[in-house]
Symmetry: C2
Subunit: 334 residues, 2 copies
DNA sequence: GTGAAAGCGCTAACAC
DNA sequence: GTGTTAGCGCTTTCAC
């Protein structure tokens, strides 16, 4: 594979000139630039990334570590990050931590080893592996979930408020026994959504013992949770569901139990999945600004790469409740 | 940041011994290994990736370039690739080419520059940027779509046969005017699905002029195509749809036109999305073995990295038609 | 404006 | 089994 020396030889200049001509940093004579470019093309020269990064002590790459590649919420974040990063010449590599602290830790190590310029991550939980980034001075920003005990840039959604509003909406629609299926304890978004749910019920002076289930943020867990909740002596007549994968599990459970969503049980789920309007009845959702989360996070990261001394910021974006037919009120009340 | 020399100094050995102890290549005295490990931990030593890769002339990384991060088919492939690659100590970086030949080309350049061990990609089309990989001797394998004119490892699905079977199923169910909404011309899967559709109609001696639409592999395009097809004087009474994002667009269009899926128009779509059983009526689909595609591709890539002289292979996996209510036959026939 | 040369941190001959 | 050392390909002083 052609090296910078090959190009230099072919263009009849030194390697320093080739480097300068190709990177456009220092000024180089017009003719020489042309000659170097020509030689580079002829040889099919591609700069050696590791050599460049070794020398520069940093790669123009940002790592994006997300908890679930199969969750549209996170892939939308990825697009936001990519669009902003590409504009300024950074590449984005996506890593899937799969909600596992161990994989997250592994990817953080890799990011450090590869000397990426920065890391954006949705932290799996109470892990401290992020401390390594801070220690080494690698720029990073957290999305979706804060880092407990770390004073870093973070981009969040006011998910507690959103959960509260969604639950209040269910109350206003006349549902009486409102349940909640949320993610694992310790995962901040899961805790916040539960807290918002409780806020709303408290305001409405409702008591709802035994109507909360916590499970992994996946369809299978929510499916079990829904079966469990709905086969109780006093089942819920409405459910707040903490993400769209879980909504799939709940809808499956309802199908199996022949309980009609929106008629027998009111439903509001987090995340506006593309299919939410296609189920019968259309699913009410809390739409989160995922793309924007990614875009904002990328901008913050770039700012921090440029100036590591900026004070850390917390950006909180709002979510929107989209009321559709699955939360139109219990049948006997319509 | 601590370097290998720092570790060597602290452990009272040479850098070579540190390298050997940490990589476990050559045999090193037990005590020394322990001392080196201890020193490394105490210093929080993380090897410098670029330096290592520069020296080794290759990184233990495989790049996975997929056409659409938001398509569950491709993210499932990603999981297959990751699981296999991680088992043998390779990292996977995901790159989203977004169906754009230009981005694909850009990521291929980056992969070459970073000297990754190999590349797995779903080629956007008739691009020749892959030739660079071949020229440089970087291992690569194509998934989902073959590389025209390149004799490489490739993992495909027999999508033409699957389309044929799906269409034959619609014929058997009594649909009369079967249409097809497929991807852009030149994208092999789109062409193959159309060809399979035509195979089936030919066998059944049907004529179906004007019932084919081609558009980007996205909801919006399919939405327009469906509106167009269904507002014709003689609209189709069934549709074969080439992927799940498109199915979303078609179902939206049916909703707007108040045409009942499965009753007024029979439907079969490619890709078994998690929500396919949740729409009303449940959507018949062609389930592709996405995870397995990724796993097989990763194994082929590893084999090629190990031995670049192996003859290229083509692996073709089968798809499964899942008959659900959306293709149960026209209403007047039930 | 251009070239010579040092050196980023690591691994792998090679010598002992 | 361990140390010495060359060198991977690039960028960047430092001279001129």
């Amino acid at each position: 594979m052609a090296t910078i020396s090959d190009v230099a030889a072919r263009a009849g200049v030194s390697t320093a000139t080739v480097s300068r001509a190709l990177n456009g940093k220092s000024t180089v004579d017009r003719d020489l630039v042309a000659r170097v470019r020509k030689a580079a093309v002829e040889l099919g020269y591609q700069p050696n990334g590791p050599a460049r990064n070794l020398r520069r002590q940093e790669a123009a790459v940002v790592a994006l570590i997300i908890s679930d590649v199969e969750n549209p919420f996170f892939t939308a974040i990825a697009r936001g990050v990519e669009d902003v990063a590409h504009e300024v010449g950074y590449s984005v590599v996506l890593c899937n931590s799969d909600e596992s602290a161990e994989k997250e830790n592994r990817y953080i190590d890799i990011a450090i080893q590869e000397r990426v310029a920065g890391v954006i991550l949705s932290p799996s939980g109470t892990t401290t592996s992020v401390a390594k980034l801070a220690t080494r001075g690698t720029a990073y920003v957290a999305v979706d979930r804060p880092l407990p005990g770390h004073d870093s840039d973070v981009v969040l959604v006011d998910t507690r408020l959103a959960a509260r509003q969604a639950t209040a909406h269910l109350v206003a629609q006349g549902y009486d026994r409102i349940g909640c299926i949320t993610g694992p304890s310790g995962v901040r978004t899961a805790d916040d959504r539960l807290a918002g749910y409780r806020d709303a019920l408290r305001s409405a002076k409702r008591r709802t013992p035994k109507l909360v289930r916590r499970t992994e943020y996946k369809a299978a867990g929510a499916h079990r949770a829904a079966l469990d909740l709905l086969s109780q002596a006093e089942p819920p007549d409405a459910l707040l569901i903490a993400n769209s994968a879980m909504a799939v599990g709940v809808l499956q459970a309802l199908q199996e139990l022949e309980i009609r969503p929106g008629r027998d049980v009111g439903l509001v789920a987090f995340d506006d999945a593309p299919w939410a309007e296609l189920v019968d009845p259309p699913l009410s959702v809390v739409a989160q600004p995922a793309y924007e989360i990614g875009a904002v996070a990328a901008r913050l990261l770039l700012a921090r790469i440029a100036d590591s001394s900026r004070p850390p910021t917390t950006t909180t974006l709002g979510a929107r409740l989209l009321e559709r037919a699955s939360s139109r009120g219990p049948e006997d009340r319509r």
